[in-house]
């Protein structure tokens, strides 16, 4: 559906002291259609900045980002973004939130309510369409955000540590929901996280960033859907150990004298 | 440069620009409201001729004869006029302010003592709060005449209403957790008031104090506009009858200057009042008595 290409992308800004900071430095990446890519790295490595660049919320100071060959110019519902913080508008009812993107595109009212209702049902919130966001829990708000983004049939799905603020159980439930929706609609996904387990569960491919650069790019070929057992397979454990080392958590990794 | 210094510099800069615009206007629009009195006198006129003309408002004494009785306009006379009228205005202001704050505070604390009194007073207080205060001045004048008493009492009334509501709100906002903690330590009602509620209220009273100061200035100026015999507000209104815009502007500048100073002083004083009383003291010591 959509191939995302980043060519020599860089983003720098000046700190108040005058020092030049390179949040993203010379990143070149091709994300193939329908691929689920997780972007992982320690805090401050530039992964969120990179996501914002692909979303079009900020313009890259160097390089070019294109989707299916066409350079991007600003944010668009075609590159839907699910935020880490609550982005559901508190002053609109749930159904109005989910249909907002469609409203901006000029879709007529009955049609867009119908589409919104359909997606709300898909995320399991069919009975709260008239509720105010303040009445919903954190997990429910996240579902609403996901439904809102999917309602616009995005070709690319961008996710900025979307489940970081949720409790363990809710987070795992949302993983399954996300995978279901992805398998159905097949957008190209770029998912930012610092949670290695989350990445292992979700990704076809894990890209590691450090200090603004890509330092590793690993294909994960485990069969879907991944379970506790499949994530304990030696190949999965090997991936995880490398990733943990990248994040500076080498002491968690068992020291093997025999090479893999 | 730090944000606050940058802010202060821009504020100062804006003032300078406004002053320059005034000068520009005085040059471009040399109309006269009254023969001999430019409508927008430039700064060079303001600090000389206009200031001198304020000597008209000196009633004579201290060796300087009044202009009305044939004396000359002198800088000394003008200065005395400004000083004595400033004094009159300030006296009314501070008397009313002190009275209003005192009564408002005491009444507010008294009402907050019991839950019943709080509820009974809530609605009437809300209604009095929405009263158009300034419209009451003629009433005060009917009762007391345009005297010092009448004006000070009006200021006191306007301030008292605000401070009363502010006190009741402040007491209500003292976190229950502090009060409960004190009660579990066996503190009596009075002890709780003295050591928990009063200190915990101070930060909120700060905003009430600043609000009251603003109200007091507006009240005293309004009262003077409506028929005082002396005072800076009175000078402005008298000058307005004759169209002496220059004098109005100059005296208004004095007023604003005084107001700014009082705001700054009060802000500093109230900040220190709440600073040396750290919030930890509002919470009873966990080992001892409150």
């Amino acid at each position: 559906m959509a191939e995302v290409e980043l060519r020599n992308v860089g983003q720098s800004f000046r700190r108040s002291g005058g020092a030049l900071v390179e949040a993203v430095a010379d990143v070149s990446l091709v994300i193939r259609s329908h691929e689920f890519v997780c972007l992982i790295g320690p805090s401050g490595c530039g992964k969120t900045t990179l996501l914002q660049l692909v979303a079009g919320l900020t313009r890259a100071s160097q390089g070019q980002i294109s989707v299916d060959g066409a350079a991007i110019a600003g944010p668009s519902p075609e590159r839907g973004l699910v935020f880490q913080r609550d982005s559901v508008f508190p002053w609109m009812r749930t159904i109005d939130n989910v249909s907002y993107g469609l409203k901006c595109r000029g879709v007529e009212k009955t049609k867009r309510i119908e589409i919104a209702r359909q997606y709300l049902r898909q995320v399991g919130l069919g009975d709260v369409e008239r509720s105010w966001p303040r009445e919903l829990s954190g997990g429910m708000l996240k579902r609403v955000a996901v439904a809102t983004v999917f309602a616009n049939s995005p070709r690319v799905l961008l996710m900025d540590e979307p489940f970081a603020a949720l409790d363990y159980v809710t987070k795992l439930q949302l993983h399954q929901l996300l995978l279901t929706l992805w398998e159905q609609h097949r957008p190209t996904v770029l998912f930012v996280t610092h949670d290695v387990d989350e990445a292992m569960l979700l990704a076809d491919r894990i890209v590691v960033m450090k200090e603004g650069r890509v330092v590793d790019d690993r294909k994960i070929t485990l069969a879907r859907r991944r379970t506790v057992e499949s994530l304990a397979l030696p190949e999965a454990v090997a991936h995880k150990e490398v990733l943990l080392r990248h994040l500076g958590l080498g002491e968690l990794v068992q020291d093997r004298t025999a090479p893999l | 440069m730090k944000r606050t210094t940058a802010h202060r510099l821009t504020s100062f800069g804006v003032l300078v620009v406004l002053a320059a615009l005034w000068q520009l206007a005085s040059i471009m629009m040399p109309y006269e409201s009254v023969p001999g009195e430019p409508m927008i006198p430039g700064w060079q006129i303001l600090v000389t001729r206009t200031f001198l003309s304020l000597a008209d408002y000196w009633q004579g004494g201290l060796g300087i004869p009044s202009v009305a009785q044939g004396g000359e306009r002198t800088y000394a006379g003008a200065a005395l006029a400004v000083l004595s009228n400033s004094w009159d205005t300030s006296l009314r202001l501070f008397t009313g302010l002190t009275l209003g704050v005192a009564v408002g505070l005491v009444a507010g604390l008294a009402v907050s003592w019991s839950k019943w009194s709080r509820r009974i007073v809530a609605l009437p207080a809300q209604i009095i709060r929405t009263f158009p205060m300034l419209a009451l001045i003629p009433m005060f004048q009917l009762w007391f005449g345009a005297t010092f008493l009448g004006m000070a009492l009006f200021v006191a009334f306007a301030v008292g209403v605000i401070f009363f509501t502010g006190t009741v709100n402040a007491v209500g906002n003292v976190s229950d957790i502090h009060v409960d903690y004190a009660r579990t330590q066996g503190a009596s009602r009075i002890q709780i008031y003295r050591s928990v509620i009063l200190p915990a209220m101070f930060p909120e009273l700060r905003s009430s104090i600043m609000l009251s100061l603003g109200t007091a200035w507006t009240a005293v100026i309004a009262a003077e506009f409506l028929g005082a015999q002396t005072g800076l507000g009175q000078i402005i209104v008298f000058a307005q009858y004759f169209g002496y815009v220059g004098r109005m502007f100059l005296v208004a500048l004095f007023l604003l200057f005084y107001a700014a100073i009082t705001y700054a002083l009060f802000e500093r004083a109230s900040r220190r009042l709440t600073e040396w009383m750290p919030r930890e003291l509002a919470t009873p010591d966990r080992y001892g008595a409150p």
Binding site: S76, D86, S87 | F131, L134, A135, V237, F249
Partner: protein
Amino acid sequence: MARTSLSVARLPVDPLGIIGLLALVALWWGLSQFHFLSRLALPPPAGVAAAITQNFFSSSYLANYHLGYGGLAGNLAYTISNVVVALAVSCVVGVALGFASARVELFRAFADPIMLTAGTIPILVTAPFFLIWFGTSRSAQIALLILFDVTIVYLFAQRAAANLDPTYVAAGRTLGAGPMRIVSDVYLKGALPEVFGGIRIALAGAWGLEAFSELLGAPKGIGRVIQAMAAEMDSQMVFAAIMTLAVVAVAFDVAIGGAFDFITRWRRRARL
């Protein structure tokens, strides 16, 4: 006081509050029986009520003082129209300037010093100047009120826009909202509660300011009624005029409060 999420006005009223109100009226009546203040003591409630009803819709008494034949109501209409017009204009200007200053740092650098200084000085000082520039006309009153209202609305609008979580703006953009929609659907709707709070505060002060401005000089209005009646030493009519204005002020405050509750029904209740 517990409130359901659908309460539209600040009802039901606390019954103890009604008792307090009645006590206040009783106090008024009691004080009016004593003449210790001066000969012109507090006019009794019954007298004031009679004065209001007799002169409300038409009054030849007031007409004698060049206050029109519309009685108290006619003058009240003048006062109310000034307050409402000034507030409406100030909302548009204040919100526009406030939002702009929250978004554009340079604009804020210029607007803030002016607005904040104007917010702290007693605006009343400018009243005589407006009288000279506009004469004793409606424009003098409206100009004064606009000056007063704008500084307040500006402050609240700026604060609201600055406090708005930028995530909402970003979300709006990624959902395809253009700049016009961002302003109307995100900024205006999100900032409305705080701006409304400012409107309420501005309105509370506006009544007294308008009445006072009319006292200084106006073609009509409740303030002019007060001034004319005070000159006649008719304290009963003075009080009657003040009371009608007070009732209007309270009515507007309740209405705005109700509108506020309705408009902000989406808000999280304070966790106090």
